[in-house]
């Protein structure tokens, strides 16, 4: 047992010395991700992208005031670049990236509506990114809804104003009906009808009063919505992406370190010495796992501390859960790295595999695309990546304040243990062949 520990310690000392002999590498590993997260936070302010918008109309005078009011109210979404009367000129500006959006106001919209047809706003953009196209469509809907709302509000306000004279007429009618009822002799057969008429007029008057008393804005938009998250915390873009960035980074570091480890030793020839020396594949594997885990846990601790204290990324859940999640992520990622190292023939091949895994993790782990949007068979690929489990665990712990999701934890733990066993068997074969 004592010799077992000594043999394992050979790797601990060797790997750590080799890593710590490269202070620039350590500095890059610690500060690099922290700087990336900081820059990411600075690069993406927590607000929507405002679109430079050019309006096209054949009758600028008729719409100028309305457009000014509108763009002022929605200045966070629209930047008014004025009105054009020539649609082709506006589209040319769009093609030259001098404007982001061209909204063509329909000619004679009121006549079109009066003819029982919808007046159509044509919205042009020059986006290619599907997300930006979706954003433009959302903005276009906001725009047309707002126009519809404004028209309805104007019509309502007009109706409220017009109903003032109607209300006076009703009051006169009610007074006259009362007088008529009082003038009728008792037992007149028409008395009930007059009473009924008076009641109807009174109801109508009250409804009209209510209509007039309500704000036109409430009448047009009677319902609104308020959303709030369970955690009660307002997350910034940086906060949201921080857990995923930490996970991707730790996974990538683990895989890269481990993937180069054995392939280098195989190529340098020292594996020949391991095969002849009294060290087993199991001891070698344990030694390497312990060395890299030791270093990466320290690294993860420093990155987390910087993220929490300097970038103010919250950890709403427990620190123990966070530590456990990071540990199992590192353990499983090392398993992936050693597997790459054992099947690669050269350093270059190992680096290529690691990069492919990083790419796969960016696209399939839920880093920026929600896993719930993914088609069913592809989710199997997603759930074969340690990063998918890591992001899910860290988002739950850090942002939702939940405890470690047990099914997710069990999933990644099983993958990690299976990978360890596969790596051990492959290394044993390598050392025995």
């Amino acid at each position: 047992m004592f010799r077992f520990l000594i043999r394992i310690s050979s790797f601990l000392g060797k790997e750590l010395t080799e890593i710590f002999r490269q202070p620039l590498l350590i500095l890059t590993l610690v500060l690099g991700p922290f700087l990336i997260m900081s820059l990411f936070g600075l690069a993406y302010p927590d607000q929507n992208r405002a679109l430079r918008t050019t309006f096209v109309t054949t009758n600028p005078g008729a719409f100028q005031e309305g457009m000014n009011l509108f763009t002022e109210a929605y200045s966070s979404v629209f930047i008014d670049q004025g009105m054009e009367t020539d649609k082709e000129l506006a589209l040319a500006k769009l093609a030259l990236n001098q404007t982001d959006l061209v909204i063509v106001i329909p000619d004679a919209p009121f006549e079109t509506i009066q003819n029982n047809q919808q007046a159509v706003f044509q919205v042009y953009h020059n986006e290619v990114d599907p997300f930006q196209i979706g954003y433009v469509q959302t903005i276009a809907n906001i725009y047309v809804n707002e126009v519809n709302r404004q028209i309805l509000q104007t019509v309502t306000e007009q109706g409220q104003a017009d109903s003032g004279s109607l209300q006076s007429s009703l009051e006169t009618a009610i007074v006259k009906t009362q007088a008529l009822r009082q003038a009728m002799p008792p037992g007149d057969v028409n008395a009930p009808q007059v009473t009924e008429l008076e009641k109807d007029l009174t109801n109508l008057h009250e409804n009209l009063a209510t209509f007039r008393s309500l704000a036109s804005g409430v009448l047009v938009n009677p319902f609104s919505v308020e959303t709030s998250g369970l955690s009660g915390v307002q997350f910034t873009v940086t906060s949201f992406f921080a857990p995923a960035v930490i996970v991707l980074l730790l996974q990538h570091l683990s895989i890269t370190f481990a993937s180069l480890s054995i392939v280098r030793e195989t190529r340098s020839g020292i594996m020949e010495l391991f095969k002849v020396a009294p060290i087993t594949a199991f001891e070698t594997m344990i030694g390497k796992y312990v060395s890299y885990l030791f270093f990466e846990i320290i690294l993860a601790g420093v990155i987390t501390a910087l993220a929490v204290w300097l970038l103010k990324i919250p950890i709403l859940g427990s620190w123990q859960d966070y530590a456990l999640a990071v540990f199992i992520l590192l353990f499983t990622s090392l398993g992936v790295g050693f597997l790459i190292s054992l099947i690669s023939q050269t350093d270059t091949q190992a680096v290529q595999y690691s990069m492919l895994l990083l790419l796969a993790s960016i696209f399939f782990s839920g880093f920026f695309l929600d896993l719930r949007l993914m088609r069913e068979p592809i989710t199997a690929l997603a759930w074969s990546l340690p990063a998918t489990y890591g992001i899910r665990m860290l988002q739950d712990i850090m942002l939702r304040g939940s405890s470690i999701p047990s099914a997710v934890f069990q999933g990644i733990a099983i993958i990690g243990i299976v990978l360890f066993l596969i790596d051990w068997i492959l290394l044993r074969k390598k050392m025995e062949s």
């Binding site: 310690s9 050979s10 010495l273 095969k275 002849v276 009294p278």
Partner: protein
């Protein structure tokens, strides 16, 4: 041969063969390496020396035949068996980003050497004359220093049997000589050394020499024995003042203890092959006096092992 060779063989092989696909790397190798000897395995590059070492260390399994190293088949070595052998690999395989001391420490841990090992490590560094360079990174060492560090790493667990695969390859003659001094010291401490080399001249430092060619072990002999086998006896050089004529040479060749033709080196000097130099020299002196030849020098010659080796290869090729 030393007396301690009598203490048994540490390596024995019987028809040991290793085949890679279509290529026969080692063919029907039979040999015994006595304990306490320096056994030199000599042959040109690619003749199967390294494959043999790998078979003996358990790195490869034999295709056929049997082998025993320290009484066991290396493939079945336990951890304690492995601690008894040291293996110096042909190329430098230690870590370039670790210092001399750290590399040595790593090798010690790999072999499970106890934690209180500083004394031994320092002693080894003294032995290979790297004590002043222990803080140097391995990548900054010269080729010779790297070989010395590798040797120290091989000795770190004090193995009783050392396999040294071309330990002197690529280093200068002075350092090569120093390495053989180390090996002699190790032998004196009781270690058995099995070393390969392509420097044929190094055969002279070995107790026994195995000559390998084309995957076959041509012979195992002492260095002197090798010479005798190559030339059919001892070589005696005779230098006379007057020089020998054709008749002298014909008579010399007809002497019963002289083999083959007299080799003319120059007008005054001739070489002859005799059964035994020590007994032949006085007789040759008498013969010269009888022939009125004034002898300037007469002595046994030691032909360079390069020539010996080439002769042996030529003989074997001719036999085939």
């Amino acid at each position: 041969m030393k007396n301690n060779m009598l203490a048994g063989n540490v390596v024995e092989t019987q028809d040991l063969t290793k085949i890679f696909g279509e290529e026969i790397a080692v063919q029907s190798l039979n040999m015994q390496v006595p304990r306490g000897t320096i056994f030199g395995f000599i042959g040109p590059s690619g003749c199967g020396k390294t494959t043999t070492v790998r078979l003996l260390t358990g790195f490869y399994s034999p295709t056929s035949g049997t082998l025993s190293v320290l009484g066991k088949n290396p493939v079945d070595f336990s951890k304690s068996d492995r601690r008894k052998i040291g293996y110096l690999i042909q190329q430098f395989v230690l870590y370039p980003d670790l210092t001399v001391w750290e590399n040595l420490n790593f090798a010690a841990s790999l072999y499970g050497v106890g934690l209180f090992r500083w004394g031994r490590l320092n002693k080894l560094l003294d032995f290979v004359e790297l004590a002043g360079d222990k803080s140097k990174l391995a990548r900054d060492l010269s080729g010779g220093m790297k070989r010395r560090l590798s040797l120290a790493a091989t000795l770190v667990h004090n193995p009783e049997l050392l396999f040294l695969d071309e330990p002197t390859a690529g280093i200068d003659p002075i350092l090569r000589r120093k390495f053989w001094d180390y090996f002699k010291e190790l032998q004196a401490e009781g270690h058995t050394l099995f070393t390969t080399t392509q420097y044929v001249g190094e055969a002279a430092y070995c107790d026994l020499v195995g000559v390998m060619h084309g995957g076959k072990l041509l012979m195992i002999e002492t260095p002197d024995g090798l010479r005798r086998k190559a030339y059919g006896g001892d070589v005696v050089g005779i230098r006379t003042t007057e020089g020998m004529n054709f008749e002298h040479r014909r008579q010399l060749e007809s002497l019963p203890f002289v083999h083959g033709k007299v080799k003319v080196i120059d007008e005054q000097e001739n070489d002859v092959i005799v059964d035994e130099a020590n007994t032949a020299i006085p007789t040759l002196m008498e013969w010269c006096q009888a022939q009125k030849l004034n002898v300037e020098t007469i002595e046994e010659k030691s032909p360079p092992f390069d020539d010996v080796f080439i002769k042996i290869i030529e003989m074997e090729t001719a036999n085939v």
